[in-house]
Every structure is written in structure tokens, then in C-alpha cells.
């Protein structure tokens, strides 16, 4: 299990999805959770950084567990998830600050894999009961969602899947960002169709209803 946490922790940091001490991961084992230590560096995880505690009840290990433990627990209690990843992908966080309800990828890969990533917001964004409640609600229906201005939570039966959704989201958001920059650059150039981007998909308007 440590090997899995190290592998995806390293990838999460090195692909720029989180900062040196940001983000957290967990897996569920029946009525137990293994979650990364609060303040741990995902790029340098050791056995001491994996904290096991109860799914329902606290024990002394909650002193060491990630500050998002309450959110992870709520997700496991309300979904069939077996793994959770929480990171702060910069382009996705930036887009969450300008998109009102959801990030709708415009690229092919993002459309296939994600279709729609809803955005929710709370006043208290870290380790709060409000986030826990919202996260559990969102992840009953979606495999990943954005907490406005903070980051994403994603789930899967395996850490690899949860990691994939974060990675796909950030790529999709980077493409959206680049496209909008190009649109901005072309806004006053009629020969470049102004600020248009060229749609290639069918049922485009429906992605928002996913």
C-alpha cells in the first residue's frame, strides 16, 4: 500500500497538481481508513506518513491525520468509493473562480472522461462539516468536483482512478485557459474569427446537463 501512495503522491506533486505540503489521499479498507498525515509531503511519503484510523470513530491517530479527514470519512460513508484524492490543481482552481456552476471541458479527452465537473462553495473550505456534507452529496453523482477557490476531490475504486480524474481535470482546464487566452488575443482580429472557438462536438449544449 505504501508503494501505491508513494507512486501517486510523487506523480501528483511532480505534475504540478499540488504544492510541496498540499493535498491528501486516502483508501478505505472496510471500516478503516488509511489517510496521509497532516503536513506530509506527497512527493516524499514514508510509512510514518500513512495514518490508519476508523471510518466512523475517532482514535488517537486523528491527531496525525490529514485535516480533511472529516471530508474523506463523509465521502466513504455515503458512496462506494474505495480511494480519494484531494489536490489543488492551479488551472482548475483558477477556473473555479470564474465559472459559476461547473467546469465543462471543451477538449476531446476532457469531454470523454469528465463531461462535467460541478463547482460548489462554502465559507469554511478546509476540513469543515459544510465541505464534508457537500462533498458527500457531489460524489454520489460525480467522480470529481471542485470546491471553489480551493481544489478538487475525486474518488474511485483505486487510487489510480482518483488520480486520473484530477490529472484529466487539470489538463482540460489548462486547455480551456489557453483557448481563452487565444480568444482574447484574437478578439480584435477579424481574419481569425474574432473571439470564436470552433466547436467540433455534437450535443455540446447537453454537457452542462450531465
Amino acid at each position: 500500500m505504501l508503494e501505491q501512495f508513494q507512486k501517486f503522491g510523487r506523480d501528483l506533486f511532480q505534475s504540478g497538481l499540488t504544492s510541496s505540503h498540499g493535498g491528501n489521499m486516502s483508501v478505505r479498507m472496510g471500516d478503516r481508513i488509511v489517510i496521509t498525515r497532516t503536513g506530509s509531503m506527497l512527493n516524499h511519503l514514508t510509512a510514518a506518513d500513512l495514518i490508519e484510523t476508523g471510518l466512523e470513530e475517532d482514535d488517537s491517530n486523528v491527531m496525525l491525520a490529514s485535516s480533511e479527514l472529516i471530508v474523506h470519512r463523509a465521502i466513504y460513508q455515503n458512496t462506494s468509493a474505495l480511494a480519494i484524492v484531494h489536490v489543488h490543481p492551479p488551472h482548475a482552481v483558477a477556473l473555479s473562480l470564474v465559472e459559476p456552476e461547473a467546469i465543462i471541458p471543451i477538449d476531446n479527452e476532457g469531454s470523454y472522461v469528465l463531461r462535467k465537473v460541478p463547482i460548489v462553495q462554502t465559507e469554511l473550505t478546509t476540513g469543515s462539516k459544510q465541505v464534508a456534507k457537500l462533498a458527500a452529496e457531489m460524489l454520489r453523482e460525480y467522480k470529481i468536483f471542485m470546491l471553489r477557490g480551493h481544489g478538487c476531490f475525486s474518488t474511485g475504486p483505486l487510487l489510480e482512478e482518483a488520480y486520473q480524474w484530477c490529472s484529466s481535470l487539470e489538463e482540460a482546464c489548462r486547455i480551456m485557459y489557453l483557448t481563452r487566452m487565444l480568444q482574447l488575443a484574437q478578439a480584435t482580429v477579424p481574419s481569425q474569427s474574432g473571439a470564436m472557438h470552433l466547436e467540433y462536438r455534437k450535443h455540446t449544449d447537453n454537457y452542462g446537463t450531465w
Binding site: M29, G30, D31, E141, K143, L158, W210
Partner: protein, 599 residues
Amino acid sequence: MDGWTRQVLRVNLSSGESRVEELDPALLVQYLGGRGLGTHFVYNEVVPGSDPLGPDNILAFCTGPLTGVRLPTGGRSSMSTYSPLTGTVLDANSGSQFGVRLKWAGFDALIISGRSPEPVWLEVSAEGVTIHPAGELWGLDIPTTVEHLHQRGTAVVCIGPAGERQVRFASIANEEGRSYGRGGTGAVMGSKNLKAIQARGTVKPSIAEEELYKFVEYEARKMVSASPRTSRGLPEFGTAVLVNLMNRYGVFPTRNFQAGTFAGAEAISGERLREEYLVKRGACWSCPIGCKRVTKTNGATGEGPEYETIYALGSNLDNDDFDTLIEANYLCNRLGLDTISAGATIGCAMELVEEGVLDAELSFGRSDLLLQTVEDIAYRRGLGDELAEGSRRLAERYGRPELAMQVKGLELPAYDPRGMQGQGLLYATSNRGACHLRGNMLGPELLGIPKMLDRFSHQGKAGLLIVIQHTNAVIDSIGLCKFVNFAIGDDFFARMMSAVTGMKLEVQDLLLAGERIWNLERLYNLRAGFTRADDTLPARFLETPLPEGSSAGHVVHLDEMLADYYRFRGWTPDGIPTPGKLAALGLDELPYLQEVVHA
């Protein structure tokens, strides 16, 4: 509330009476349809321990809310009963048209009870049911029976001579070539003196949310065409695409699971099937994948063989004579036999001969005896009458029960669990006995779906298997084919359900229903007397390492996985659902709970 017709047609063959009942909408949401609904009927109406081949058993043909809807693979239906082969609750799932026509006739379910004094066939339509004397149909094989009864706008299910003689692994054919295959469905139908059912239905179901439906259907077909499994592998080679793959992984069962590699694999492979035997490809109703094969050999034409059949009648018998294998497959289809149990039982007999405890001509590699043996089973002639009881009863009869490759009486499918730890746990815990269709770990352990896991590790398998078991229960209940799950996942199923029914159903609502169905099946089996001791594998898989190939040296570490499995499920260490778990699933008010669950 679109998607369901909310009507069940009941026919009592003892009295000849029939009636239509309204189904409680809450029940449909709770169990979805198909397998879930059928399990509900069996749990409440068939006393475990009674004679599965007696008049008190039922045949419950159940459609799902997506059956008969033009979504990818939306033609599936289930048949639930109390199995004469295993003594467990049983559901068998099938493509083809019967479920579609039953739904279009206006029924979520057709439940048949009692026993007709004389052989009969049923004509089912929106007007109800007419019981006809089977007369000249009794004794006919499946293609001939279907030919007699099939008309435009109808679909036919029937049994062949094997079902008439109550062979314990006789199947029910759904049109020609597709089957409610496993566990002895055909024997139950035969025990009722019921030869066939013709369903006539023409009223297509309405869709609650057209806009969402069109979008989900479009996206789903896009995903199916983008997946290499559903757009290339299965359409091009059929399920036989797995022969060479499984052989390379060292999990291709050979000589009654004495080995996991077969020297003759190439001769019975999907590649050879395509090159030398394929006449045309086909597909079940509304299926864009099209894994069906129409083949020909020695002048005969028929469907298949599927991968599982190639193992059962091929490598498992040390048989690389593809022509004979294909003919034996046609024969099973014609006479109405489950090919897996037929081949596995013959393989068991061959090992009994090899061990010197059964005196018979059969032996590994004797493909020249295969066709006659299959026919003898179907007609219960000579040794065939003993084989018709299935491998467990056969091996017990000769004092060597460990030579039957079965769990809870159901013969193993075509994946040696020693090279797939999670598959071993699946076989041990599957509610209808050893089965790959109750949560196949082929995906995560060998094909990388959703991701590739270490197939030899037993760690982390229990939790994933449980999720897959629930997903499979959902797919079987809503009316889709498991192969579509190679391309689309739970989020699609939830949106398909929402679009068709008009109810807002979330992914987790469906998975909870899947867990409810799984637990209901478990409760029935507990009532039938099954215990933790039955959640096991033949000793061969636990004690004898595979001798060669890329899985050589491995056995299944079942005990470690099983303890995790029970705990993760919220069951006691003896494998009994706790009162808390049942309350969470809304099953705490069920009848008969006091027989098995203790506070």
C-alpha cells in the same frame, strides 16, 4: 414513472389459471428489475429446501427498466428460480429478443408456477396468456421448436430434450443460439412440463426525458465505438478473443484444471475461428458490440462457440480438434445444455477415469467420444445419465468430491483462479456458485479495466470485488449487457435510468440497490443452509500450485481475502449480514430473517 410497466403476469400451470398483478413502484425502485426483481420473487415465494424440480418452484422471467429501450445492449432479461443444480437462488441472464417482446407486451415479469399435467406451451401477449398443448413439439430440438413457434413480432424461449429430461444443467434457449444458460433453468422448465413460451409484444416503452435520453445514448455509443474491447476485440473475434490471451497468462483451464496452459490453444483460438470457421457476425437486440459468431463446420452451421465453451469442450478435455469442439457446441445448443457445466462435468469424469475410480471409455484427448457423450447426457443414456446430474454429484458418487471443479455445485468458468487471486474470491463468494458473471475480476486483474492490478496479490481485492459485484447486479437488473461496462460506467447507467424513468437516480442509488440485491441473494442461500464453509474453492486451487506457464507456482490465498470480504461487507465473521447492515439496505423488515440473522 416510465421504464417499468408495473405489471406482472402470473400463470399457474397446475390449475391453468392466470392473472395480472400490479407491482408496487417502491419495490421496483428497490430492486430495479431483472435479476433484482426475480430474486425478490424467489425469496418470497419459494421455500428453500423444497424440491427445485417440484411444482412449488417458480420460473420468473424479469425484464429491466432499460429492456426494450434502444440504448446500447438494451435487450437483456433475467430468469430467476431455485436452482436444481446448486440449491442456491439462481438467475440466468440472456440477450436476444424474449425480454424485449415480454416488455413490449406490457410486463415487467412473467412468473410461472405449478406443473402442467401434460406438456404445454404458452402464448403471451398484451391480452394475457393462452396455454396450448405441446403435442408434437415435445421431443423436438431447439431450432425446430423455435422454427415452429416463431412469428413476426414474437420471440420464443424453449427447452430441448435435455430440459425435458431435467438434466440438472439444462438451459433455456432464448430464440436460437442465446440462452438463460447456467444452473439448470431448463430442468425447472422441463419439470413443469413447459416446452416453450412465445411472447408477442409491439408497444415500445415511452421515454420520460427525451433530450437527456438522446444525449446519453449518443455519448454511450460514442464510448462503445472508442473502446478497443467493444469496437475491435469483441466484434472481430467474439469472446474467443480470450483464448490466446488467457493461455499466455497461464489461466486457461486444461485437463480439468490440472494445468493453466494448453499446447493446442492456437488451434482453438479466436484467430482461427475468424480465419477458418466464421460465416458472419451477429448481435443481440440493440447491441452495437456484436460478439455473436455464426460459424460452420463439416457442413453444419450454428452460433458460437464462445470462449467459455472453447475451454469447457476444448482445453479442459485436452481437445484441440476444433471441428469436433464446434460441433459439440452446436449439439449443446440444439439439445439445450449449458456448455460450461457439460464440458466441466465431462472433464471431471475423465479425471475420475484417469484416477481409476470410474470405468469408462472416456479419457482426456478422446475427442472422438465427445459428440456421443453430449448426446448421452441430454437424453440421459448410460453414463450420460450420471453426468446429467453435474460434476458435484458425479464426483461424490465415485467417492472423489475434490475432483469436481465447482463451487456450491456450479462448475467453474474459464479462468484458473490461481493466476487471478480476486477471481478466486469471486468464485468462492458468488451467490449462484462459481461464476464469472457475478463480478468478473478479469477486468482489473488481466485487462486493465478500470486499471491493472497485481493479479497474484490478494491484498486490496476484497473491496474492489464487492464494488464490481454490486455493479454487475445493477447491470443484470436494469437490462443491459455486462460487455457494455467495458466502455461505459456507473455514471452512464444512472443517467440512462434517469432519462428513461424520469426519476432522479444517482450512481450511489444504483450501487446501493446492487448491494441490496446481493444481500437478498445471500439471505436466501443462508436460509437454504449454506454457510461460510460453502464459500470456498476445490482443494486443488488452495493447495496445488499450477505446474507451468506464467502463473506457475501459485495457489489461491482465500482465507485472507475472505476475512476481509466479510468485514468489508458488514457481515459477521461467519458471513451473515448484521442487523445494522440489513437496516442500512432497507432489508430489516423482510420475512424469514429470524431463520438466519441473529441480533
